[in-house]
């Protein structure tokens, strides 16, 4: 059994290729997993990670199953595509490289927007889906658990997961820099477009819970307000609500500015020193630039917020090196552990099998000699035998794992001695 990763990602495959291999529904993904499991055999394991930026298969595959077999099955599962069309875009990683790749992906080091947090949820979901379908096992279970904890470590110990990833996120960050917690803060949205909705959702996710929406078309305002648990107001009445709002998101399609300095100055007077954060993400702009001259008013347009995203992104790039070092060390440790498990497993099971055979033979012999014993008495005898075998097997099992972890020639010789002692035959029992 060996660890294998085949897949394609945004670094190597353009979107028109990635979308062809995307598994957008849970049912399609489950079907693909079952189909791949067939190829991998009963001991094989697989997890399929499918996001808009990557489709990657992680598998514990028998020696006789090649990466090519997996690619063929994967492309077939994805809407019956011929493998030849996509083969050039696929990447293949084995063993330690597959481990490190998964750790890097989960930590966000391979993401299109470096360090973006959504990938952790996506990896978690992919693993949960595979687990539900029953295609994970002793290799992929610890691998994915470790990947998720390594991602958490990389994000906690570095600034990789910090900062803004989008304009909406930047707006929420800026609002928190001004107000601290956004709980109880009120938002006034001017224009019910996608940008205002995305920005408002970020602010609402940070705690802002009072939302007013004003739009030229009242129905659209009502629709957006409903989705944000807010209230729609008449477009013409928005100046009356400026004084109550802490954050104003302006994103209308108006060809000229709609928020003017005297209007905001009036609102500021009755705000009693509370700051007012104005986010103008409309092009052309909705808010007069000279509004920024007012005391206690902080005006940010789309370029300002993009600059925040860029600056955070640059900071994350600096942190990526530290995060990559953490991920690398963790991958080395995990790969060593996996090797140990693999090297020790056949020998441990060989030793156990040998002892079990001896136990069964002895029990059989005893049954012939003590035929008069009741089934209850035999249960007691069998339990005593099992307990004895377990106790005898414990020390060799621990030693075998130690020697396998050591990996030195001396340790390998000791493992040979163990094989010899238990009559297991050195050559055929050695780990792959």
């Amino acid at each position: 059994m060996r660890l294998l990763m085949v897949g394609l990602a945004h670094q190597t495959a353009p979107v028109e290729v990635r979308e062809r291999l995307a598994f957008s529904s849970s049912a399609a993904l489950a079907q693909a997993l079952l189909s791949l499991k067939e190829t991998l055999g009963p001991a094989g394991e697989c997890v399929l990670l499918s996001t808009c930026n990557r489709t990657e298969l992680y598998a514990a595959a028998p020696e006789d199953v090649s990466a090519q077999d997996c690619i063929v099955r994967l492309t077939e599962a994805a809407h019956g595509l011929p493998a030849d069309d996509l083969e050039d875009y696929f990447e293949e990683r084995r063993g330690h490289r597959a481990v490190e790749h998964l750790f890097r992906v989960t930590a966000g080091l391979e993401s299109m927007i470096l360090g973006e947090p959504d990938i952790v949820r996506q990896v978690k979901t992919a693993y949960a889906q595979a687990s539900d379908v029953g295609t994970t096992g002793p290799t992929l279970n610890p691998l994915f658990h470790r990947a998720l904890s390594v991602a958490k470590r990389a994000r906690t110990e570095t600034q990789l997961g910090r900062g803004a990833f989008s304009v909406g996120h930047a707006a929420a960050e800026m609002a928190e820099s001004i107000f601290g917690s956004l709980a109880g803060r009120s938002i006034l949205i001017l224009g019910a477009g996608d940008m205002s909705e995305a920005t408002a959702r970020h602010l609402a996710a940070s705690g802002a819970n009072s939302v007013l929406v004003a739009n030229r078309t009242f129905d659209r305002a009502a629709h957006l307000a409903e989705s944000l648990n807010g209230r729609a107001i008449s477009y013409d009445a928005f100046p009356n609500h400026l004084a109550q709002a802490d954050i104003v998101i302006a994103s209308t399609a108006a060809p000229h500015t709609i928020v003017h300095k005297p209007m905001v100055a009036d609102a500021v007077k009755s705000r009693r020193r509370r700051p007012l954060f104005l986010i103008d993400i409309a092009v052309p702009r909705d808010i007069d630039a000279d509004v920024a001259d007012l005391d206690g008013v902080y005006l940010y347009n789309i370029d300002d917020l993009r600059a925040v995203v860029d600056a955070d992104s640059a900071e994350r790039r600096q942190e990526a090196e530290r995060a990559a070092a953490i991920v690398h060390n963790e991958a080395v440790t995990f790969s060593a552990w996996l090797r140990t498990q693999r090297a020790a497993a056949p020998l441990v099971s060989g030793v156990r099998a040998k002892m079990d055979t001896i136990k069964q033979e002895e029990l059989q012999r005893l049954r012939q000699r003590l035929a008069h014993l009741s089934p209850e008495e035999w249960q007691v005898i069998e339990a005593a035998f099992t307990s004895t075998v377990n106790k005898i097997a414990h020390a060799p099992t621990v030693k075998i794992k130690d020697y396998a972890a050591d990996g030195s020639e001396a340790a390998e010789n000791k493992l040979d001695t163990v094989r010899e002692v238990f009559g297991l035959g050195a050559a055929e029992e050695r780990a792959p």
């Binding site: 600034q159 107000f179 206690g296 600059a307």
Partner: protein, 270 residues
Amino acid sequence: MTGSAIALGTALICYLLGAAVLGANLFLRRPALLWTGRGLAVAAALAHMAAVGLRCIELKHAPFTNPAESLSALAWMVSLAYLAAEVLWRLSAAGPFALGLSFLLVTLAGFAPAERGVPDPLLSSNVVSLHIISILAAFGAFALAFCCAVLYLIEHHILKSKHGLAWLKRLPPLLTVETAAFSLVAFGFPLLTLGVLAGLIVAASGGMGRGWQTDTHALLAYAVWIIYGLYLLARLRANWPPVRTSYVLLVGLALCLLLFFIPSDTHRFG
């Protein structure tokens, strides 16, 4: 070397290290640095408390016999105010300012007049002790309000100019520092009032000798009281913008510190 001197030396080192570590945390944002800095601030405050306590035992009265000791006590009050602000508002960004100020005040105390003659009999008076302790505690709060005002002005400048926005992540929210500054002054102002009134009682009962009405310390203390009173009025009633009230706090602390360095005929104990 006396026990109080050793404790004060320890506090001095902890102030410096605490300021440096919390300052480094502002740049590097490492949890280990933050917690080390906080630990050093607690250690400094405890060591300074030990120094003040031991000095009390050595002198057998409150250790405010000269400007040097009063400056040192003020440094302790600043560190206590910082720890309180850290607990209430997580103001670790004020740590480098506050602990740095404490370090500076203890160092300045080393250069300030420390002549010691016969202990002033007034020092055994409870009213005088109340006068000194209230005013020092108020000044401690004002010093931290000053730190908050500096932070406010820095953040306001960043937000308006849009340069150095990455720094905002390292600093407490704008509204938090403004609220903290106001709360500290609201806490310190009644103490200052109490201290000034206690001083007036001592002076009116003849404890300060003649000419106390025109004493530079007393006049400056009234000026400080007026400045912080004005701040509260401007903040609560006049609706001044926070930038303007922040500048008032800068002026206020400058006047407070001036009290320790101008000569006075009637204030013989710092």
